[in-house]
Amino acid sequence: MNPQILAPNDEELMAAYVAGDQTAFAELFRRYAPILLRLMQQRISRTQEAEDLVQQTFLQLHRSRHDFRAGARLRPWLFTIALNLRFQHFRESGRRRETPLDITTIELGGDRDPNADLLQEWAEQSREVQLALTKLPPDQRNVIILHWLEGLSFAEVSRTVGASVNAVKVRAHRGYIGLRKLLKRSNGNRKRRRSVPLRTERH
């Protein structure tokens, strides 16, 4: 039997937690902590700060558990808490901009991985997308992160960011156009960089 068929969904877990089941909260943490960390690290480079905000998010989830109504979806609920906490964090620390975690600067490990080239390519692609995302206006970036990366529907994104569905669609449309242009440019640059050593080899 497929265990996934029996696995409770997020809303069932939340309902169980509200009813007093502590293990349901642990399971929610297991499912969402990595996603929320990624969400925080998209704008916060210091791991400690990102972890603190994730910790705060789960504390707020605990405090607001009696606000959770049957029929509501947990994912946008949790993302709104996380984004609000991140916004507060920037407002209080007086910082406007933060650079995301630059994964190309991370050591890939001691022994050379047989897939090192693939990983390097992956790292480069990821860095380009993250860099392109940081260049978008914040309202477009948030919509794209929630819709494209985190898989929320436009209706859920609209509830999360507090704008109408149409406004969210417009932001997403503009954001995707901007992102495509930025990625095209960086793709071109990458290809040019790669073609340089090849030409030198021929001469």
């Binding site: 909260f25 642990a26 943490f29 297991r30 902590a33 990595p34 960390l37 990624r38 791991t47 990102a50 972890e51 994730v54 910790q55 705060q56 789960f58 504390l59 707020q60 605990h62 405090r63 607001s64 558990r65 009696h66 606000d67 609920w77 949790l78 709104t80 808490i81 609000n84 906490l85 916004f87 507060q88 407002r91 209080e92 975690l101 994964i103 991370i106 890939l108 490990g109 990983l119 390097q120 992956w122 790292a123 692609q125 990821s126 380009e128 997308v129 993250q130 995302l133 494209w148 990366l149 509830r159 999360t160 960011v161 507090g162 704008a163 990625l183 793709n187």
Partner: protein, 233 residues
């Protein structure tokens, strides 16, 4: 780069050093284990419950102050003017309570909250500086200390309750809206209680109560922080 590749690049990407989720879970567990006592219980109630409690408390404070000694000129005081001031204070108070206790799972409206707080600090001055009611008592500062004391105490009670019901973390800006709400409640209660109609009395004694609460609470907070720093070395 194609769209799914790019998405994979960000989501499933290369081995980013994973933080120790076990350690993070232990931190979350211990934070939640500390959520005990009356304060934690109040904060974990539903938003509807918290707003109702704050609303009822504000109404009880205003009615108690008014019924303890209703302004002696209530029969002759211009009703429209009284309704205007009480109505605007009540509306502002309601909005400030709702905004202050807005849960974090709703989109942020801190700009509106600050605008309402700004209005709450200025509207009492605007009402105070309206032309003096014709049935004015020719006194400006009679019982001024009573008004200041009663207003500040009633405002401080609501302010403390709003802080206690607020789920968000404590920070300097979190004092603005509760202080504004406390100031508005003080003005609302005093407008039903104090018969002095001199604009000078209203502008110098009643209207600044919100600012007194804000500065007082900021001062208390700074002292507490200094004390904590000194103790922890």
């Amino acid at each position: 780069m194609k769209c799914p590749d790019a998405r994979e690049g960000v989501l499933g990407g290369p081995p980013v050093p994973q933080p120790d989720l076990e350690a993070l879970w232990r931190r979350v567990e211990s934070t939640i284990a500390r959520e005990k006592g009356l304060l934690a219980w109040m904060r974990s109630r539903s938003t509807q419950w918290r707003v109702s409690v704050a609303g009822v408390a504000a109404a009880v404070i205003a009615v108690t102050l008014a019924t303890a000694r209703l302004r002696v000129d209530i029969d002759v005081y211009p009703q429209t003017r009284l309704l205007l001031s009480v109505g605007s204070f009540a509306l502002l108070l309601g909005a400030l309570i709702v905004l202050n206790l807005r849960p974090l799972q709703r989109p942020d409206v801190s700009t509106y909250a600050l605008l309402f707080a700004l209005a709450a600090f200025t509207v009492p001055f605007a009402i105070a500086l309206l032309p003096e009611a014709t049935l004015a008592h020719h006194v400006a500062f009679r019982d001024a200390h009573d008004c200041l004391l009663l207003g500040t105490i009633s405002g401080a009670v609501l302010m403390t309750l709003l802080r206690a019901l607020d789920r968000s973390a404590s920070h300097a800006r979190a004092l603005v809206v509760p202080a504004a709400a406390g100031g508005v409640l003080a003005n609302l209660a005093l407008s039903l209680h104090c018969p002095v109609v001199s604009p000078l009395h209203l502008a110098l004694i009643h209207a600044p109560i919100g600012l007194v609460l804000l500065l007082g609470s900021k001062g208390l907070r700074a002292t507490k922080q200094r004390f904590t720093r000194a103790r922890t070395g």
